[in-house]
């Protein structure tokens, strides 16, 4: 494969692609005509690479995923997986190259975890889906990978959302494909489960050399785990690069910029912008001051480290000292601090 060597976005530290597209144009037919979401995409996914597709709502993430997964036809262009054009592929061939974890809800009672994961072996089994010893081994391995060995005979509908998602990942692993595609695998999960899912996927990419392609709204997690980020934009062309390159080039900020929050290049996180009521001087640099700063910002104060402002906050001896116009109040916790601040400020505004 020829490989353009650009300095910033577009470049990834991988060489041999398992999937690439040529002039892929995605979108769909509407009553009013053709709606093009992305035009002339040339994208690649490599073995062992964890690709995160991110972008604001409505930019066409799902359409891109559905198109690559073969659930929707492209408007134009080709997708090539493992050297074969998907247009020329039979369904069962496709199923041996690409496995899916979707957001479709599975409303089914009476299916055990084993039943569901066995479905992953369908591209390989006979008419009765008979599992050979080798199939059992692969299913066993798949369940190992998502830490669900003891769950084989549990009913799927009785599991938690996080466990269900892991079962579906195990199903995709049982399908034993070089490429695994997951549509928002961390949606509806709590933080520990989100992190666990991402860790599992990251580990799988490294250990099994599978290419893993997922879409997500978790910018934070994507920045921390992805090898490559595909940054979709509603208006401009999709940007591709390592998370770091995309942050440094300002692309990340540009796509998600908004009036209500800012992206902090240093911490790599987004910060909500609050309306500003006034300024507060805050001294100290320990963990107590950090959380006091967050509380004050949330309350609508800009926090300054110089001591020029008439509201001052300082943490010492297990107490927050609030100083307004040289009157000092000792507060035991943040709630008390904010309550006192509100009371005093409303008195001041009443008297003026």
């Amino acid at each position: 494969m020829e490989h353009e060597s650009e300095k910033t976005p577009g470049d990834t530290p991988f060489t041999v692609p398992i999937l690439y597209t040529q002039g892929l144009t995605i979108g769909y037919q509407t009553k009013k005509g053709v709606l093009e979401l992305e035009r002339d995409l040339s994208i690649k996914i490599h073995n062992g690479e964890l690709v995160c597709l991110i972008g604001p709502n409505g930019c066409g993430k799902s359409t891109l995923m559905r198109t690559i997964a073969g659930l929707q036809k492209p408007l134009n262009g080709d997708t090539v997986i493992s050297g074969v054009d998907v247009k020329k592929m039979k369904p069962h061939q496709y199923a041996r190259l690409l496995s899916l974890v979707l957001t479709d809800k599975i409303n089914v009672g009476g299916m055990t975890v084993l039943d569901i994961v066995s479905v992953g072996r369908y591209p390989y089994t006979n008419y009765f889906a008979k599992l050979e010893p080798k199939d059992h081994e692969i299913i066993e391995d798949a369940l190992d990978n998502v830490h669900l060995n003891d769950y084989k005979d549990r009913f799927f509908h009785e599991l938690s959302d996080g466990e269900k998602q892991r079962v579906l990942i195990a199903k995709a692993l049982a399908q034993d494909t070089p490429l695994v595609m997951l549509d928002e695998p961390t949606a509806h999960l709590d933080l520990p489960n989100r992190v666990e899912i991402m860790n599992i996927l990251k580990r799988l990419a490294k250990e099994t050399n599978k290419a893993i392609f997922l879409s997500t709204h978790e910018l934070d997690l994507a920045l921390q785990t992805a090898d490559t980020i595909w940054l979709m934009n509603r208006d401009a062309k999709m940007e591709i690069g390592t998370p770091e390159d995309l942050v440094l080039s300002g692309m990340f900020e540009q796509v998600f910029k908004s009036n209500s929050f800012t992206f902090n290049k240093h911490s790599g996180s987004f910060k909500v912008v609050h309306a500003i009521k006034g300024k507060v001087s805050l001294s100290g640099n320990d963990v107590y001051s950090i959380w006091a700063r967050r509380a004050l910002e949330r309350e609508g104060y800009e926090v300054a480290t110089d001591s020029d402002w008439f509201i001052k906050v300082q943490y010492s001896n297990d107490l927050w000292e609030l100083n307004i116009h040289n009157k000092t109040y000792n507060c035991h916790n943040i709630a008390e601090l904010l309550r006192t601040l509100r009371q005093e400020m409303s008195l001041i505004s009443d008297s003026t």
């Binding site: 659930l71 599975i106 009672g109 479905v119 009765f128 889906a129």
Partner: protein, 337 residues
């Protein structure tokens, strides 16, 4: 579980042979089979009425239940079934056209009944049920909501019912009488000559259904997942529609519309076998269907009395409460499926 199933089918089969307006003891049954009947009339009753009726019960029970299961998986709807979605009504329309046609629309010359016989009856019923099923399926691709699809089926039922009424209005009283008796549903109307047609058709389609477990399991996870594991969803759908219409059409043609068995039995099977895996569920549903149908037939014969009850009412009395229970539990409707 399988042993219990087979055992109860055998017991009920014998019971169904033995009970009726004339009681034939089980020992007598064996004597008749070995050719040493105590009474010639018993032998006649046994071979010409009881045996075809019991065989019909087994075939229709298994058939209509599997058709229900296929529709529940196809529509991903726990309340789907031949009688609920208007499929039986479609078959009725076919039968009505077939039975009533001589005077109603085509004039006396087009008396299908005489020219086509049992095969014609089956064909008309299958075409009727296929058309309605296709209609419901098309409508359900526009609306995915479970209950809406049922209402669509109901409407199709009304439409076909209306056409049947119009046909009746213009028909010979005698033919109407025939048709009305048919709508009550009965297994005893099936004689050997008809069983010769119905038996092979049902046995074949039931055997085919056993091969669908893999695709049906994949469909349980949704069309996208099914496509993702290499299942050709539209072909599977077509296979299921065809099989369902053939089974529902054939059964309805000969026994009349049998209400609610198709909806209720698959749930019974899921409950008893605690699984939705079609590899188990398809044979389990067949087994439960045979058992329930034999029971319904025995009940409809009102053992010891000279009268019989319409089969359709007996199955409804059994099936409707099951459906009510499912609807009342509808919070868990998804889990029940």
């Amino acid at each position: 579980m399988v042993l219990i199933g087979v055992g109860s089918i055998l017991c009920l089969f014998l019971l169904d042979l033995s009970l009726g307006s004339v009681k034939i003891s089980v020992e007598e049954l064996f004597r008749i089979i070995s050719g040493n009947a105590s009474k010639k009339s018993w032998e006649y009753i046994f071979f010409n009425f009881r045996l075809p009726k019991a065989i019909t019960a087994i075939l229709t029970g298994a058939g209509i239940s599997v058709a229900g299961l296929q529709m529940q998986t196809l529509f991903k709807n726990p309340l789907a079934g031949p009688s609920v979605l208007g499929i039986s009504h479609g078959a009725s329309l076919g039968v009505a056209v077939f039975v009533l046609s001589s005077t109603a629309i085509f004039g006396v010359t087009a008396n299908f009944q005489e020219t086509l016989g049992s095969w014609g009856l089956i064909l008309f019923a299958i075409i009727g049920s296929f058309l309605v099923l296709l209609g419901v399926l098309l409508a359900s691709s526009k609306v995915s909501d479970t209950v809406t699809v049922l209402i669509v089926g109901l409407m199709f039922g009304f439409i076909t019912g209306a056409i049947v009424n119009i046909l009746q209005y213009f028909s010979d009283p005698e033919l109407i009488q025939n048709f009305l008796v048919w709508t009550f549903g009965s297994l005893s109307g099936v004689a050997w000559s008809q069983l010769k047609v119905m038996g092979p058709v049902l046995v074949l389609t039931l055997l085919f259904s056993l091969f669908y477990s893999k695709e049906m399991n994949a469909l349980l996870l949704g069309e996208n997942y099914a496509t993702g594991v290499g299942v050709n969803v539209s072909r599977t759908r077509l296979k299921l529609i065809l099989t369902t219409s053939i089974i529902a059409g054939t059964v309805t043609a000969f026994t009349g519309p049998i209400a609610f068995i198709g909806v209720a039995v698959p749930h019974l099977a899921r409950l008893l076998f605690r699984t939705s895996n079609h590899k188990v569920l398809i044979p389990a549903t067949m087994m439960c269907g045979m058992v329930i149908m034999l029971v319904c037939d025995i009940v409809s014969q009102v053992p010891g009395a000279q009268t019989t009850l319409p089969l359709n009412s007996v199955t409804a009395l059994f099936g409707a409460p099951v459906i009510l229970a499912i609807i009342i539990k509808s919070k868990k409707m998804k889990g029940a499926f």
